[in-house]
């Protein structure tokens, strides 16, 4: 059950990044409401998408099945991370302090790297399907 433990811990770590995005959304909201909305949207979907892994694997004992579910949730985080990277630096979402968009961009890059690694781990260790 080492893999299940890894899934729980790494999912917990991945939950941190959308929370950071939500904080950035709150900061950016007053300057550019659309920036706040886009951060909030991506943050909430990533947060809910990743948090739902816990009830889904709760009673699951088969490692491959845990891996398959883990792949689904990491695809959500990864793809939203890529979306964030593509959109956060757009002129439409600019705010006075550009440190905020760059911080949001960096958060997305980190979530991409981690979820990408998790996908690799799920495929190699749990023999999960990479294609959902």
């Amino acid at each position: 059950m080492e893999f299940k433990r890894y899934v729980k811990i790494s999912s917990g770590i991945l939950l941190i990044f959308p929370i950071v995005l939500l904080i950035l959304a709150a900061i950016a909201w007053s300057e550019n409401v659309y920036t706040g909305i886009i951060y909030l949207t991506i943050g909430v979907i990533q947060l809910v998408g990743m948090a739902l892994i816990y009830p889904r694997i709760g009673k699951e004992e088969e490692i491959k099945e845990i891996g398959n579910k883990y792949v689904q949730h990491n695809w959500i985080v990864l793809s939203l991370g890529v979306t964030g990277c593509a959109m956060f630096l757009a002129p439409f979402f600019a705010v006075d302090s550009m440190a905020i968009p760059y911080a949001a961009f960096a958060v997305c890059v980190v979530s991409i790297v981690l979820s990408g690694f998790n996908l690799h781990k799920a495929v190699t260790e749990a023999k999960a399907r990479l294609v959902v």
Partner: protein, 452 residues
């Protein structure tokens, strides 16, 4: 006989192209939803929404999107369970309604040719996007970019670069949020929803034309939806996933793009996004997303043809792709970045394809019911099963309904007319033949254990 216990097939063509999907390979509702969404979320939907934005007031554009999506839900909602029950691809499911040769011809008509058409149109749209990004570069005219872009897409399809397939997954939320970006721009620049609602479209069109365009955009997917939902664990999974993605996500994406076009007055989505400040990152994603979708289009064409043509799949990719690139270059040279060819293409698909879907629906849901077959017994293909080479009723019903519903009848909604006529003609002629003792199948074909 339970297919989970006995699976007497040999999957010679791969991906269960001609044989039922075994139970161990089936997937749940969420997977169905992901897969459909991956197909839906592409830049072409945004171009479709932008087209609505040039033709309708906001309220009407949303209504058109809802009605068009409802018709697509109806078609897909009725074809999806066919795949869920038979566990076979559309190509195989077409056999009872059109005969064995008919399934080859109509399979190519409803899947292979539209996919080639989409490859052509998307290659041309790629040219427009590149030209929008680099308006003064000589290598980035719509004509030049269509050619080199098409060749690049063709090469990746020929080599079979699988990384691009994964990109389709990655790009799903991006395109969803890009539609959301359209909504934001619309609200910001249009003066809220009230202001947006008052903006006059630049090229008004009748309601039915808009609905047929929306249907045309995805009717090919609606008819061949069995290709995905044959993998569904439960029969209703495919239909549920299909209807949810259409009625929520497609309506939202079309409406978002329509808002963007309404406020910017720009039918060119790429130009509108750039002008509104979407940034280069969004453009690169859009280009990569379009590339991955188009790569898949030409692959689908090769699959549809490869089932009946004894030629290497890669050769088909090359030939069909070359035709697609040449056509894209032709469109670019004649129309440049004007949206007329895109609208005509959507109209053509919306008129030409629904009748074939209607015939399939009529055969499975009505004719088999009339023959007394229980739902779970329908389309249960087995080695040694006999089919007609041609089911002439299916051919006549589909052709006549397409001509009448799509081009001769001028009232109502063309795609809906063609669909209903396809159902009505097939069921009336088939039952009349049955009562009169006239055979609807010509010739005989016996399927072997490879499904051929």
């Amino acid at each position: 006989m339970n297919k989970a216990e006995v699976w007497p097939w040999e999957d010679k063509f791969g991906d269960y192209a001609l044989v039922p999907v075994p139970k161990k390979e089936t997937r749940g509702l969420l997977t169905m939803f992901y897969t459909y969404t991956g197909v839906l979320a592409c830049i072409a939907v945004l171009w479709g929404g932008a087209t609505l934005g040039t033709q309708f007031y906001l309220k009407d554009a949303v209504l058109v999107a809802i009605v068009g999506s409802a018709i697509l839900s109806l078609i897909g909602g009725l074809t999806a369970p066919i795949g869920g029950i038979s566990k076979c691809s559309t190509y195989v499911n077409l056999r009872p309604a059109f005969g064995n040769i008919g399934s080859q011809v109509w399979g190519t008509v409803v899947s292979g040719i539209p996919a080639l058409g989409w490859f052509t149109v998307q290659t041309w749209l790629f040219g427009i996007i590149v030209h929008t990004l680099f308006p003064t570069a000589p290598w980035a005219t719509v004509f030049a970019a269509s050619i080199w872009g098409g060749i690049l897409m063709l090469i990746t399809a020929y080599v079979g670069f699988r990384g691009l397939a994964f990109f389709s997954y990655l790009a799903v939320p991006f395109f969803m949020l890009l539609a959301g970006f359209g909504v934001m721009i619309g609200i910001q620049q249009g003066g809220g929803f009230a202001g947006l609602a008052g903006i006059k479209p630049t090229s008004p069109a009748p309601f039915g034309v808009g609905v047929t365009e929306v249907v045309g955009m995805y009717v090919c997917g609606a008819i061949i939806t069995a290709d995905i939902c044959r993998y569904a664990t439960k029969i209703w999974h495919g239909a549920a996933a299909w209807i949810i993605q259409l009625m929520i996500l497609q309506v939202y994406m079309l409406s978002g793009a329509a808002m963007l076009t309404l406020v910017t007055g720009e039918a060119n989505v790429a130009g509108a996004l750039l002008a509104a400040g979407a940034g280069v990152g969004a453009f690169l994603m859009a280009i990569l997303g379009q590339w991955s979708t188009n790569d898949n289009n030409i692959y689908s064409t090769s699959l549809a043809i490869n089932i009946w043509a004894p030629i290497k799949r890669r050769t088909i990719v090359l030939i069909a792709g070359a035709v697609g690139v040449a056509l894209a270059a032709l469109i670019a040279s004649v129309w440049g970045g004007a949206m007329a060819p895109f609208q005509q293409f959507l109209m053509l698909l919306g008129k030409a394809l629904p009748a074939a879907g209607g015939v399939l629906i009529a055969d499975f849901w009505l004719y088999r019911w009339y023959k007394g077959e229980r739902l779970g017994e329908r389309y249960q293909f087995q080695p040694g099963m006999k089919f007609g080479k041609v089911n002439w009723v299916g051919w006549v019903a589909a052709i006549v309904a397409t001509i009448l519903g799509g081009w001769i009848i001028t009232w109502g909604i063309a795609c809906l007319n063609a669909l209903i006529l396809g159902v009505v003609f097939y069921i009336i002629i088939a039952i009349a033949c049955d009562k009169a003792g006239v055979k609807i199948d010509l010739g005989e074909h016996i399927i072997d254990k490879t499904g051929a």
